[in-house]
């Protein structure tokens, strides 16, 4: 019975999953290719033009952000990736109960000797597996990009004649030969493993959104209303985070936004710069004092919201009345 349900839900979801997964995979791959085409130095020139206040909107230094690793890590925060994961999570979560109720198909399904708990569990299992596949697609696309692209770098000759500038006190190095362009595989510049914390963070985000949407779906009977409520709360959460980042006086708003725990580039930075903290709950300074929460704490915050929401959804669905289709 579980196998039959599982098969049905996978069939129901496969096209959306393929579309979202394919988009994420392709986007992350292309993103790496674009990074390989643009010289890091030019990026620095662009970032130098930005006002200093812009730094507060990114959890990592601009200096690191213009590295190959930093720029690739931004893919996890790109609209397309977050949108695809959110679309999957909201579509599947809202379909679970209010979608089936609204279409009237839950009526015949629940008429079979299958418990409500099993219905919501199997449906949610497919959704969570889908979130995992999307997160893996993001990492897979990134890895594919990294292993299939190369970067061209200019290498200055080792022998240069320093010409002193009188009255200024500076020197101008004069190379003995023209700089050489060298192609190097991206994989020599970037370690794919540093993107795993961001991948887990993306999965945790999807789990949270899917769980919360399923919870809203479990008491509702109209899918459009479920989606409306979830999207509304989603937007409010994003606004809370942006406003919280914008000014120190309202920094406390960050505690009310779940998106505060979605910082994939920060976790890539930690994995890149301090690999020992890549999967830590806490980060400590050189003296061993607690500095801040580690990536794992943020993953767990998002995942716990998702899991608790799923549990609440199951309780609500098992106890609620199932109205006749309208």
């Amino acid at each position: 019975m579980t196998r039959v349900l599982l098969k049905k839900y996978v069939n129901d979801a496969k096209w959306l999953l393929l579309a979202c997964g394919g988009t994420i995979f392709a986007f992350c791959w292309i993103r790496v290719w674009i990074v390989s085409r643009l010289d890091t130095g030019r990026f620095k020139a662009i970032l130098d033009l930005l006002p200093g206040d812009w730094q507060r909107f990114t959890p990592v230094d601009f200096e690191w952000l213009i590295t190959y690793t930093g720029r690739i890590s931004l893919a996890y925060d790109e609209l397309i990736v977050v949108l695809c994961v959110s679309i999957w999570s909201i579509a599947r979560g809202s379909d679970c109960i209010s979608g089936e109720l609204g279409r009237g198909t839950l009526e015949m399904l629940i008429a079979q000797p299958v418990s409500r708990l099993k219905v919501i569990t199997v449906h949610s299992l497919v959704t969570i597996m889908g979130v995992a596949i999307l997160a893996i697609a993001a990492w897979g696309g990134t890895c594919t990009g990294i292993y299939n692209t190369s970067v061209t770098e200019e290498i200055l000759p080792a022998w240069q004649l320093p010409i002193p500038l009188p009255w200024i006190g500076a020197e101008v190095p004069i190379p003995f030969s023209t700089p050489q362009s060298v192609d190097a595989p991206m994989s020599d510049k970037v370690d794919v493993d540093v993107f795993l914390p961001a991948t887990v963070n993306l999965f945790a985000l999807g789990l949270m959104v899917a769980g919360f949407t399923t919870m809203m779906s479990s008491w509702d009977r109209y899918r459009w209303r479920t989606i409306g409520i979830v999207v509304g709360i989603y937007v409010v959460q994003i606004i809370l985070k942006l406003v919280g980042l914008a000014a120190d006086e309202v920094n406390w708003l960050l505690y009310f936004s779940a998106f505060t725990s979605y910082e994939p580039e920060a976790f890539v930075h930690i994995a890149d710069a301090t690999p020992q903290f890549a999967w830590s709950l806490s980060i400590y300074d050189a003296d061993g004092h607690w500095k801040t929460w580690g990536p794992m704490a943020h993953h767990l915050v998002l995942a716990m919201i998702g899991v608790v929401s799923y549990l609440a959804a199951a309780v609500i669905f098992v106890r609620r009345d199932l109205p006749a289709p309208m």
Binding site: K8, I110, A111, Q112, V114, L322
Partner: protein, 380 residues
Amino acid sequence: MNGTTVLDQAVSESGDSLVTTKSLGKRYRQVDALRDCTLGVARGEVFGLLGPNGAGKTTLLRLILGYLRPTSGQATVDGLDATHQSVAVRRRVAYLPGEARLFRHMRGQDILRFFAEVRPEGDFRRSLALSERFELDLSRRVAFMSTGMRQKLALSIVLATETPLLILDEPTANLDPTVRGDVIDLVADAKRQGRTVIFSSHVLSEVEEVCDRVVILRGGKLVHTQDISALRRCHRIRAAITGAPPLPPVALQDQLDVRSPAANQIEIDTYGELGPLLGWLATLPLTEMRIEPIGLRAVYDRFHAPRGGLPTQADGDDQPAATGLRPDGSQDRKPGGPVVSHPGATRHDAGSPTPDDCLPAEGSSLSAESAGGRTGDDLR
């Protein structure tokens, strides 16, 4: 006894009943969708549910299936609590919803296979056979099927399931007359196999044809139980008569109501076998005599029709009027006709209208039959 009858109470408490409800109620804020409903459905019985939209039929079915949590009372199927042992209950039930909606993106064949596989006792081949009988094109996706085709598909799923209890909520809606006939035949087959059927429909002729017993619901309350075999023995004789209406013989008085709706007209309602009556009728100066069965429509209209009186099956179509009660719950009477009451009415609601009751009493032979063969004394 509030909201119940001796018969229902007896069936409900007997070990023979497959479905029982005891003081079952469902309240939505200020609205009572179902109130104090006590009934029993005997094993092997085809049990009809009648009432206009909003009367509480579907609420009752959903409570039995565990879709809704009762506000009061309890429903059991085969001794299992419908709320707390819902899965076990549904293992014993095949349910056709009033408006069966199936997965629109799936093809008919895939739908049949899914529902056959999701149930341990599901039978795909039987579903296929039924769909062939209904001349259903299984290669189409549900989204591209007509309403009638979807109903046939749902029937192929539900009727293929070999469960002790079959609950059909308006199974013949949207079907052509041929398939309607097939559905009625299949219900009769289920009965022959010893299965119990709860049959909800607005088509009174179907209910009368297929059911052993029906209950009528009004405003969320069970107001009447009717044994169909007893109903089949009820007739109305209409004739022209010269002279005053005669008094019936003493031996037949308990089985007759005689009235004169107009000058030189006579109407006689009979409640038993016609044979003993015919001899007496032959002695009367009657002309233009017509004998008509008093159908379920007449019983239904006592509770739901806009006008009173006792129409017979020949009086109109099967679709009853949905209104007709005065605000105080009383009902109009047929003009010119005296109020005739009879102890045989199986009444539930003290506040219900008091139309011409023409039916045998609880505990009489009809009640005993519908209670699985026990005698009237047993039922009391």
